[in-house]
Symmetry: C2
Subunit: 450 residues, 2 copies
């Protein structure tokens, strides 16, 4: 350790007592794994296979644990179905990769109350009651880390919290749901209908049997709420963020989007803006999870398959991009193990301090001002454009372009109107009138053009 | 602090003693700025403008400090030319943004020896004597952070060290020099010669008056050496990494590259591979900084202007991407301030521990096995291809394709041979013979196709 740079970009340079002491302490971090599904078993694999780690897996908890037992874990590992076995043990860190809100929340409270730290990949739990769990951890002088709860293996939580701590971030946007990105990519590439792409994704394990959480944006908005808290210091509830489904997107929308130099992605967006009437900064949080048109040249347009990407924008540093595998056992397990190592480091130093930025509690709105994409499916007849144009003009909305693919059947004609920049709420107003018009075969598809 | 999630993805969740104590301690981090150029004054700006920060700028040191004084810093700041004023003060963290190896190294040693921590943006210094400085910091129970030394505002050092700590990284590649990326982009976009693009870059402040460090890859290889240490745990000297200049790249090379579905970028690459004769992993470090062909679909091909990008590849998490502004006062200052905050956090907890992975000291080679791009400039005459093909075939190298743009002047004819995958050293052997052939107007340009 005398002449080698010891790979410590950040905190290992902090003078630890001495080499010997470090190693002694290092062997002293016992880990219990609660949940032995895809992520859980990947975490166990990494803990087993990685050399030079001072982390020791001592417990694995799962329902019907007998059928979960594997032969590649050391025989010293205790397999159990009972959380009390973990609570009463000498475990230092409990890793929760079980999912769900209950009994998970109760268990995590009991773990913290018993003087152990927690690492969790549970985005819904953190979005739902993270603040309370963190307060409890603080009170018990323990830690709770949740780096794996957003974007799987992409180290965006630590990136926002530490790497960009010196900046004043005001915008976070990204692709936070690999399932939706995979489905939209498939519709785009293969020209298949939404339902077919979804079935494919389910067959390949990229989508759940019940895909609602992903498709309707509920998964991504939980992640966005967490990112808004970590990066923008905004106290925002996931349920206060508008989430719109991608299920109405069709192959024809990609054709039209392409004509506009764009593609369509499920975009999670959170942006702090000063309230218009005051000079104070950050009074309104514009936030939504929705399918949107993004320019083909944007990094968001180039995210492949089930990958994730987050773009954080700061007052001083401009745009910083984090990208990688947003899901899957191994990548998510990397985030979990990184968190375990962070807990182990912090335990080592007893308590750890972090600046407490004042929380903002801004009003949350999805009323973005953008250009808009309106795709209609109509029974063709004379006067359709005139009717639509009249309503839009009465609402004070300017049409930017009208596009109609040639060769479509008259009774089932998709065509497109794009609108100049205006508030989404204004368009929604106009659509209330428009959607009652009798020539519409289905309600108008309305997407923002970002 | 009771019910709000306090933006602590990572370590703030670690239980600090209590709210009151935190705030008291928080006001206690005094910062001295050594160097008040572009980065230094940006750091001062951020420290002044950012609200809720517990960092206090107390000293600014610069040569001829009188001409540096600004009116937007608090009058309490002490301006000095004498490092002893800083050493004898109550400063907690000294920020070195002065650059150069001397007197910087001596000063940093004295700062650490006087019981203060250091934040530096000095890549050459860290690449040159980082290990010794870290050992000294450890001995003095102080810290030295260098997040700003690589890729400016892109939080890649903390990303590798903390965010991806759970993975076993084996490859790091990226675009680490914004000057080269800007120049190559300009040649590509505007079809101008190298010299013109360089002059433009100098005019716009993207290149130094003496651009050697950038153009010849010396800047990037210092950064690559740091990344290899932090991410791959390899003890590698910058001078042991081959660096090749971009100065031979011409507009015609982009035309040929495009025909191959590629572009040309200065790529920094470090990859651990098992020694071929053993099963042990990571015995050889393939590393180089060089212009290379990269596929247009690669994220490396899409890095715009002076931005930076790093792709880290791990056994478990696959590829993770970090991108953003690799230079400039404000982005670099964000990295510096993030480091100051990290030091302040760690000071708070007295000492901080980080796992000490065993250092590897692999053999370093630039003998990559890739396809190859050979661009010749010849006085045209019959038999040229035959001569070249004979030499290549004698060396056991297979030609993949021969390309010749139509319409070039016969006495100054650029044409291209691409080679099937083989070792770079084999091609170099062949080129020793080839470059003595009398029809060559200039030595062959040899680039790897990655």
């Amino acid at each position: 350790m005398t002449s080698n740079l010891d790979s410590t970009g950040r905190s290992s340079a902090a003078g630890a007592q001495d080499g010997g002491r470090q190693d002694d302490c290092a062997q002293n971090c016992n880990v219990a794994l609660v949940g032995f599904g895809t992520v859980g078993s990947s975490v166990a694999r990494i803990l087993c296979e990685r050399s030079n780690t001072h982390l020791r897996l001592t417990h694995v908890l799962n329902r019907n644990v007998a059928r979960k037992k594997v032969d590649w874990l050391p025989s010293s590992v205790q397999w159990t179905e009972n959380i009390d076995d973990v609570l009463s043990s000498g475990v230092d860190v409990v890793v929760e990769v079980m999912g769900g809100l209950q009994p998970t929340e109760d268990w995590i409270r009991r773990v913290l109350a018993s003087g152990k730290s927690v690492v969790t990949a549970n985005k819904q739990l953190i979005a739902h009651c993270g603040p309370e769990l963190i307060a409890l951890a603080r009170q018990m002088k323990q830690q709770i880390q949740f780096g794996a709860s957003v974007a799987g293996g992409v180290p965006v939580i630590s990136g926002l919290h530490e790497g960009l701590a010196g900046d004043e971030l005001f915008k976070i946007c990204g692709i936070l749901n690999g399932t939706c990105n995979y489905i939209l990519s498939q519709i785009e590439t293969n020209g298949v209908p939404f339902a077919t792409a979804l079935r494919e994704a389910q067959k390949l394990g990229f989508a759940e049997a019940d895909p609602t959480e992903d498709i309707d944006g509920l998964d991504a908005r939980a992640k966005l709420a967490i990112l808004a808290r970590v990066g923008l210091h905004c106290d925002v509830k996931a349920t206060s963020i508008v989430a719109r489904s991608i299920s109405a997107i069709d192959a024809v929308d990609f054709q039209y989007a392409n004509q506009l130099g764009c593609t369509i992605r499920q975009i999670s967006w959170a942006e702090l803006r000063p309230e218009s009437n005051t000079k104070s900064k950050g009074d309104i949080l514009f936030a939504a999870v929705q399918p949107a048109l993004v320019e083909l040249s944007s990094p968001l347009a180039r995210v492949e398959g089930s990958k994730n990407l987050v773009v954080a924008t700061g007052t001083y540093g401009g745009e910083t991009v984090f990208g990688g595998h947003g899901a899957g056992g191994h990548p998510t397990a990397v985030a979990v193990v990184s968190d375990i190592l962070a807990v182990a480091r912090a335990r080592q130093c007893g308590t750890s301090y972090a600046a407490q930025p004042v929380e903002k509690t801004p009003a949350v709105t999805a009323d973005f001002t953008t250009k808009h994409y309106l795709r209609f499916l109509v029974k063709d007849r004379p006067g359709i454009i005139a009717s639509l144009a009249t309503i839009l003009s009465h609402c004070g909305i300017n049409i930017d372009s009208v596009l109609q693919k040639p060769g479509c059947p008259k009774p089932h004609l998709p065509f497109l109107i794009t609108l100049e920049e205006c508030k989404a709420s204004l368009v929604d107003q106009a659509l209330q009138q428009i959607n009652s018009l009798d020539f519409l075969v289905q309600p108008c598809l309305h997407l923002p053009i970002l």
